[in-house]
């Protein structure tokens, strides 16, 4: 790397860094283009998308090529940035690049209605955000990692507060910033523990260090807390349902689809790569927390009436599933069941990739709806399929995928994960054997409820009749928006149709972390993660059957059944007059869940007076954790700062007396 330009870009890690630099330059160039909104949307964002595609390409190459490292001449004196590209980083780069490409193409259409000045600033933060995330994945020393982590956190804060003139958005941004920094402090401590007194913060030294179980556990717990705060692990999840609705939709899509995965990446990196030992109860803890998060997330998703808030809660659920898979991997790994650990890890990585695509797709879908109608509240939407067919059909792909229906991608990863859960009777610890079937049941319940949530989301927003006359004028998404959604939807379909190929492709990562790979019993058509007798899945055949049945049904109805089209009012039994307000509403659909899980919520409801001229209904199901955990903390912090504020008299003499008293005190007590 020292001899000339040509060899400077010899390794994939250098290509990746070139991509980061490209984004940085693009971001700052956007500032210079403040005057031209046209150039910003038609040049800067498409170029950024190409950068994302390049990063994904580098990731694909990085999975196949050997590990490459580079020491950059930037950073503090004697403290340069170390970068490293191994299979794990490369996999997450593919995830990032793949999802970010679609989202950025979408963004180039989405932001066309924004004024040039704020847009230039947004483009800067947007590309800084992307660059920060890739650098997090590449960092090979704690210093570079923390710098990149903070760049990511701060740029996303500014993205969340794009509409900073609205007080709720500022509040959401503050909450996000606060929790991000509490997490970052914990990460700083993690690295402090990991370096173990060497004073050397490169990951290479951390890999070699020997640690006692106590210190290893301390590092693990700190990392779980720190990365958990970023990922939205209960009870650090409160920022997600606030920040996602506040941010512009492409930003929500990036944050939910990609940024949350950097926390998962960090957790994998610290636990399997940097720590020299792994302990079984870590896995049990992660499994328990993950299951709680998954269930909590999906329950709250079911009772939301704001569509972006619903998706944010659904992200919490998916993070919970990922964390549960992570915990199960750890349990298998520490129990010496390498092959099963490999299976669970494969399921986890697969699900992370899937979530990036389908949650990105759903978030940008809500963005188009928001643009077309100006409404986030599902109570005022409905019937949009007729006015926005592209958005509706593409979002349907995402909704089916997240609901875990075959032949789409969500099914594959959840099916793999459940396979792994069903194999737990092989564990040597008897009490885990007894408890884990319950865990499997919770995962299944969460998956089922996720499907329920998606029926609600899709049904209320796109199906039925418009709940507001203004919706008749909803316009379809622009072409770049459609292209972006098409890319993400294609990702969902292809990842669902070719699971064996994806699993083979994931092998380097799985081998790097668990030292094992899946048994290669699968053919290109048939996915058999364990053995053919146990379970197998043939997505292409399934797909062919689905398509065939669909075509046959259409043919049957058109040709054989009675061969004519009959038009009449459907479901007209006893309702001669139908009204959009008679449809099931978002609140109504979620009510059974609210009734069952009411102990987790604080329900606020305001029902109208029957004789009121202008009846008003207001209902909200609030997160009880906010009231029992966060508000007391905020009160204590407020009280403490008030007490400390009393020291501040504003009189310089008093301040001098403080120093004088301290001086005398120290003189007296340190000489004894």
């Amino acid at each position: 790397m020292t001899n000339g330009f040509s060899s400077y870009f010899a390794d994939p890690v250098q290509w990746a860094w070139a991509g980061v630099m490209f984004w940085l330059v693009l971001g700052f160039a956007a500032l210079l283009l403040q005057g031209s909104q046209r150039l910003l949307t038609r040049l800067v964002f498409p170029l950024g998308a190409l950068g994302a595609l390049a990063i994904a390409g580098v990731g694909v190459a990085g999975m196949l090529l050997p590990v490459s490292t580079v020491v950059l001449p930037i950073g503090l004196p004697d403290l340069p940035f170390h970068l490293r590209l191994d299979a794990l980083s490369a996999f997450f780069m593919v995830l990032l690049g793949g999802a970010a490409f679609g989202i950025t193409v979408y963004a180039s259409g989405y932001f066309r209605s924004m004024a040039a000045g704020p847009l230039a600033l947004l483009a800067l933060w947007y590309h800084l955000f992307l660059a920060g995330m890739v650098t997090v994945l590449l960092a090979d020393d704690a210093y570079a990692f923390m710098v990149a982590w903070e760049v990511m956190a701060l740029s996303s804060y500014f993205l969340v507060t794009t509409d900073h003139k609205i007080p709720e958005i500022r509040r959401a941004g503050f909450l996000y910033l606060l929790i991000a920094h509490v997490g970052a402090i914990s990460l700083l401590l993690t690295f402090g523990v990991l370096q173990g007194g060497h004073g050397d913060y490169t990951f290479d030294t951390m890999r070699l260090a020997e640690r006692t179980p106590f210190w290893a556990s301390a590092a693990y717990l700190l990392a779980l807390f720190g990365f958990g705060a970023k990922a939205g692990l209960v009870p650090m999840h409160v920022w997600l349902p606030e920040a996602h609705p506040a941010a512009p939709s492409p930003v929500s899509a990036l944050m939910s689809g990609v940024m949350l995965k950097t926390a998962i990446y960090g957790l994998l990196r610290v636990t399997f790569d940097l720590l020299n030992i792994q302990i079984g109860w870590w896995g049990t803890l992660a499994l328990a927390l993950g299951l709680i998060t998954a269930l909590y997330g999906v329950i709250f998703a079911a009772v939301q009436s704001d569509m972006k808030r619903l998706l944010a809660w659904s992200s919490i659920e998916n993070i919970g599933i990922l964390l549960a898979a992570f915990g199960l991997t750890l349990i298998f790994y520490t129990d010496g069941k390498g092959a099963l650990a490999a299976l669970t890890l494969t399921a986890m990585l697969y699900h992370a990739l899937n979530h990036a695509f389908f949650k990105g797709l759903l978030f940008v879908g809500t963005g188009s709806v928001l643009h077309a109608t100006g409404e986030r509240n599902m109570g005022r939407l409905g019937g949009l399929m007729r006015f926005m067919p592209w958005t509706a059909w593409l979002t349907l792909v995402g909704a089916l995928a997240i609901a875990g229906l075959p032949p789409l991608n969500g099914f594959v990863s959840e099916w793999l994960l459940l396979q792994a859960f069903l194999l737990t009777p092989g564990l040597t610890q008897p009490y885990l054997n007894m408890v884990i079937p319950v865990a499997a049941a919770i995962v299944a319940l969460a998956a089922a409820l996720a499907a329920y949530v998606m029926v609600k989301f899709y049904g209320v927003v796109f199906l039925g009749q418009p709940r507001d006359p203004a919706l008749h004028h909803a316009h379809e998404a622009s072409w770049p928006e459609r292209l972006g959604m098409l890319w993400l939807a294609a990702g969902c379909v292809l990842l669902g149709l070719f699971p064996t190929q994806v699993i083979v492709w994931l092998e380097p990562v799985v081998r790097m972390l668990t030292g094992q790979t899946l048994p290669s019993g699968s053919s290109w058509l048939l996915l058999t993660p364990v053995s053919a007798e146990r379970a197998s899945y043939a997505p292409l055949i399934f797909f062919a059957v689905v398509v065939g049945v669909l075509l046959l049904t259409i043919l049957w109805v058109r040709r054989v059944y009675h061969g004519r089209v009959r038009r009449s009012d459907p479901w007209d039994c006893g309702y001669p007059e139908q009204d959009a307000r008679m449809q099931d509403s978002a609140e109504g659909f979620g009510q059974p869940i609210r009734q069952i899980f009411e102990i987790f919520m604080r329900v606020e409801r305001e029902t109208p007076d029957p004789f009121s001229r202008s009846p008003r209904y207001h209902g909200a199901s609030l997160d009880k954790l906010w009231f029992i955990l966060y508000e007391p903390i905020a009160r204590v912090a407020g009280w403490l700062s008030e007490q400390a504020g009393r020291l501040q008299h504003g009189r310089i003499q008093w301040y001098l007396i403080y120093s004088f008293a301290t001086l005398i005190f120290l003189l007296v007590f340190t000489t004894r």
Binding site: Q648, H649, R651, I652, Q653, I657, V668, T671
Partner: protein, 220 residues
């Protein structure tokens, strides 16, 4: 132990320093305070020079010269000019009355001597017996800063404290390394200029140099 002739002079100068510190505590007029400060600097420079001569420590000569230039000539001149230019009410009203301040000062001196006793036993320098006085000077200057509410006496108190520290360094270890001393001298110089600018600003804003007015600046 019989003291040599020049060490007796150093001890005398040390006593003079302490005396001047007390005089500063009791001085009501700003101009008088500046004069006392100049005298304190002169005593300090002289004692440093004598220590340098008797122990053959050459770098102490430079320290003495810096002290002479900065604290006896430059800064008092600057303060005289400041006082004349600002035309401030030249009587300083202490917050605690002067006899009480003096009593507190005596307690501080006893405390400082007690404190310095074990330290000076460890020290190997010929001037170790003056460490108590140096510490007492620091504490007395601090006390002066606390009891005055006007801006200029506060700055002079700060400089007097620096004098005490300098004397402590000379008596305990024959002074700090020259680089450190040069740095400190520069800091003090810059500090005084910055404070001088502040004093003008304070007066412009509050129309007075009484720091009581700055209470309004606090939150809530």
């Amino acid at each position: 132990m019989t003291l040599t002739y020049h060490l007796q002079i150093v001890n005398l100068l040390a006593a003079l320093l302490l005396l001047i510190s007390f005089a500063m505590l009791s001085q009501r007029r700003i101009v008088g305070l500046v004069t006392l400060f100049a005298w304190q600097g002169a005593a300090l420079a002289l004692s440093t020079a004598i220590v340098a001569w008797s122990t053959d420590q050459h770098h102490l000569y430079y320290s003495a010269a810096i002290t002479l230039v900065l604290k006896v000539v430059a800064m008092p001149w600057y303060f005289y000019r400041l006082v004349r230019k600002l035309d401030v009410n030249r009587v300083v009203e202490p917050m605690i009355n002067i006899p009480t301040t003096m009593l507190i000062g005596i307690v501080l001196v006893i405390f400082a001597f007690n404190l310095a006793l074990p330290i000076s036993e460890m020290s190997g320098t010929v001037t170790r017996s003056t460490l108590g006085i140096a510490l007492a000077c620091v504490l007395l200057a601090f006390l002066m800063m606390i009891t005055r509410s006007k801006a200029i006496p506060l700055v002079i108190g700060f400089l007097a404290m620096e004098n005490g520290l300098f004397f402590a360094a000379t008596s305990a270890t024959y002074g700090m390394p020259l680089v450190v001393e040069l740095g400190v001298a520069l800091d003090v110089l810059v500090g005084v200029f910055v404070l001088g600018i502040f004093i003008f600003q304070i007066r412009e804003t509050f129309d007075s140099l009484d720091l009581k007015h700055m209470e309004k600046l606090k939150e809530r």
